[in-house]
Symmetry: D2
Subunit: 321 residues, 4 copies
């Protein structure tokens, strides 16, 4: 192999730039040429190819976003679109890809391989942490820290006013961000898609509210089956009469300088992805499981469900007494 | 004078604790006893009086919220409520008050003086910066910095995706936070209550969007006459077809450790309020105008409107090209 | 068991308060009384015992430092001192201890058991991460993040001036903080106690400096065998002539609000320590190894050496090209 | 006038990028071409000229450092060096300069005008705040906030251990950073170059230490006549026996994303500098005094001494009781 491409796709996540840097420098270290592809799959179709050197990725490690940009591509969803992308890649002499993103990214990579023989290694980068085959995805730790900084601020004002706040965090259909932000933020209750919202328990934890607890915070995952923070807040008010404020943290969770953990993880997985490609491992995602690099077939990463740690759910309950 | 009371009231603002600390220590420095009153006017009615020493306010300078708590009191709105508050204050031997808060706080202080002869000095503490008689209110600088940290994060993801974001900031009926967060965050347009939203101009600034500008951010003050970020975003989409995301920053702007500027201002005004009381100045707010301590009759602080700096509005336009 | 004591000892670490909170609430959840002991072993001798309720530990999760204070006790180093501590503990009806700290803390706990039969469970809390039996210690992740925030700032000024900086981080005799701060901060070279400083390699990585690299940062662990950042900097200057600036981060690495990871780890280990005590496990440290709670005899935690991840050392070299 | 140059010089300061952006966009807004000059005066000699467009300065507002780089130029200190710089500027058709920096920067600008007739407007950007003609310099507010974040962290560990810390901050020969960091950080004593260090007073403020004050922090300006934090700490220990720790904050105070205040000030002064040039005002610095733009002859900005606010010095003493 002489030349590889690297791109980011899907929702952006803090640490993507650290990961691009690691892929580029590891590629060069191992004697490869590395081509950056702008705007993900759409850029393959449009021909956004930029040769990257070791210095091209200086001073980006600490930046949020992605210097290669990301996009969702309608055109790549079509057979013609993918054919055009594959043709462009081949014309550029790109023999393999490093695909940084989430399940949509990996589905695209699988299609490019099955239809056009272009092999990929995937790197999990999404704040939602919802990919099987890695304990943490790149961006997740930063998103939880960002949520916590906001929750700490909300705690200040909740405490000054003896108020009840509902805080909605991201996470699509999984409660990873919610559970860690909830434990880390000292939440009284955490509503997640994986469990039915238990209004009886909410009533119990709020009993202490305005008796001896002076402020209360309930964390709601955006994908919760009840439909988000506003719905739960209104229902609790109807049922038990508790006044409330709602904050929807939204897209601030996607940005910002990556945390230490995300920079380290992105650096590790970037190097590991290049090493996997070099040793002929394709159509796999590189992840970190129990502290060690592990390869998982791309398909499994989204077909199998990564479970929440039941011990975390247990201590969340213990600590909210 | 031998004994004074200090309390916080209305919406909380970062720097209130720094201000309480300054009032307490300045009071003791000048030979007074200082009684902290919990939960604002409601605490006067309920009898929440706590003698404070120099050490009672150690290590609070850097904390958000208010150790004295704040509350809105229905009961104090009644003549009976105020009579009860005044009676309690007199029983405690409290001869004068330092009232930390916004216009509601000052209206209460005026009533206590007019009806019961209890004199006050007010200190402006509100993130909205909407009080006449001081260039900045305590909490405003922190709120703008908090908004900017969020806008910087949103810029990361906006830039990665080439997206248009509307960010709604606090400020009640004034655009102070919006204007400074807009200039500091590099906003393409700033919608404020003081000016009619100019859709033609929004069209013009967004013309560059996806041509050479890759991301765009529009700041909307919560009190904007159009009704907030969602409304403006939808109308721009209808008129000109621009897709968007909305983030409402909400209560995170009220919390957090106060900025340098807010700590200094809170310290200055806390000392100045005690010095004003000692020299027999009552029913005034201590503010900082053009770098100097200035006293303004409490009534004027909310009756007169503080104007936005027209030069700031001008440079916001120049810099969004 | 009916009553346990909890204390912090040795160097403070962010997350100690989150851990105290978890021990107290888990204790109460499982039906125990929890007594807080002030100033570590010295407080046992002096009789600083404070009964703690669930609400006693409200709103401390996010605070740096330790509400129970910490101290180094000369008196406890003597047999008489320990006898006095044990007598006081028994008079208080404290049947077992949760000891939060590092190796010195655990040595004390062992002595109390061997000499006076008072059993303990240890919780690893030190920014240095130098305890065997846990992948991470409480405080380590925050310290690395704090170091990175500083390194990012130094990168700004290094880059503006095309300068070479040496940054000294904490870590006593181990390079854990240095390695992760180095990788996360994009360091050109990382000098750690575990490896001899390789001046030839420093020369090689600095060759690019002022050619195409515009700034360079070298991280030095305080315990490096060469004697710290100033010594290495002077020697490199003598040998190869590179001008430099030095920053010694120092005690800022000990403070600050704990990171998400440290809050979660502190919460987990606090609950796990109480559960270990209840199930009769003594003289062990609760740690997290490969995502799971693990008990290790207290003695092993400091007698066995925790090794740096060799893959991290490798990628540090790859990424500095 | 058709074409102007802009450059940064001397020590870098947060907000320089925001200022460059403002100069470029205001220039274009008013119909000028703007040429960026790399590495300050050295870049004029070496011919580092880069035409800048409105989009060239996108997404830099929030970044520390300076995209135009800065340097100290030995060559420009010579008559020949300045002649070469002037020749290059004239060949580029650059008719006037916007010089962003401190007193060294302004001395250079004066020389270019007096020897070669090239006019300049200066913009004050230095963390030290030591220029006459503006209440605040660009970068000062960020530096104070950065110092405070560090002091808050040090307070955590000082408080956990009941310790005395000396913290040395930047500021060259003036105590601006020290005074505001001291008040904002709750310091027990502030040692500044403007006043002789008063060991009697240090003794008095430390009397309470370990009696009822559990931690103490003394701020020392680097330029203090006693020779910095280590010297004062040793002398206090000799005189009165207080153990101590020292932290020298150093270059972290130069970097980081600019604060709200610095972004606003940089934006204002950048626009004002261009407007001054256009209206034919030369050899002046644009500053902000009491909220209004003010022009001061370049020479006065460093010949006249800006005084510390005596009220700040007074409240520092009151609040340390």
């Amino acid at each position: 192999m002489k030349r590889i491409g690297v791109f980011t796709s899907g929702g952006d996540a803090p640490g993507m730039n650290a990961c691009i840097r690691a892929v580029v420098r590891a590629g060069i270290y191992y004697g490869l040429e590395v081509i950056g592809i702008g705007h993900g799959y759409q850029g393959m179709i449009n021909g956004e190819f930029i040769p990257l050197q070791a210095r091209s990725v200086s001073n980006i490690l600490q930046r949020g976003g992605t210097i290669l940009k990301t996009a969702r591509s309608e055109e790549f969803m079509t057979k013609e679109g993918r054919a055009k992308a594959a043709k462009n890649l081949k014309e550029q002499g790109i023999e393999a890809l490093v695909a940084i993103g989430g399940d949509g990214t990996f589905r695209g990579a699988i299609a490019l391989y099955e239809e056009h023989g272009i092999p990929s290694v995937g790197i999990p980068a999404t704040i939602d942490n919802d990919l099987y085959g890695t304990d943490y995805t790149i961006g997740y730790d930063t998103a939880v820290n960002t949520a916590l900084e906001s929750i700490d601020k909300i705690r200040d004002t909740a405490d000054a006013h003896d108020r009840l706040f509902y805080v909605e965090v991201m996470g699509r259909t999984s409660g990873f961000i919610a559970v860690e932000a909830g434990i880390g933020g000292g939440a009284e209750y955490i509503a997640i898609p994986e469990e039915q919202t238990d209004y009886e328990e909410i009533k119990n934890v709020l009993k202490g509210f305005r008796k001896d607890k002076t402020s209360s915070i309930i964390i709601v995952a955006e994908g919760d089956e009840e439909g988000g923070a506003f719905k739960i807040a209104r229902k609790v008010k109807e049922l038990y009469g508790f006044d409330y404020r709602v904050v929807v943290l939204g897209h601030i969770q996607r940005g910002g300088s990556p945390s230490a953990r995300d920079r380290i993880l992105a650096s590790k997985l970037g190097v590991a992805a290049v090493e996997a490609l070099i040793s002929g491992k394709f159509n796999v995602m590189v992840g970190e499981v129990k502290g060690e690099i592990k390869l998982t077939p791309l398909k499994e990463t989204f077909r199998r469900r990564k479970e929440l740690d039941p011990y975390l759910l247990k201590i969340a309950k213990i600590l909210s007494i």
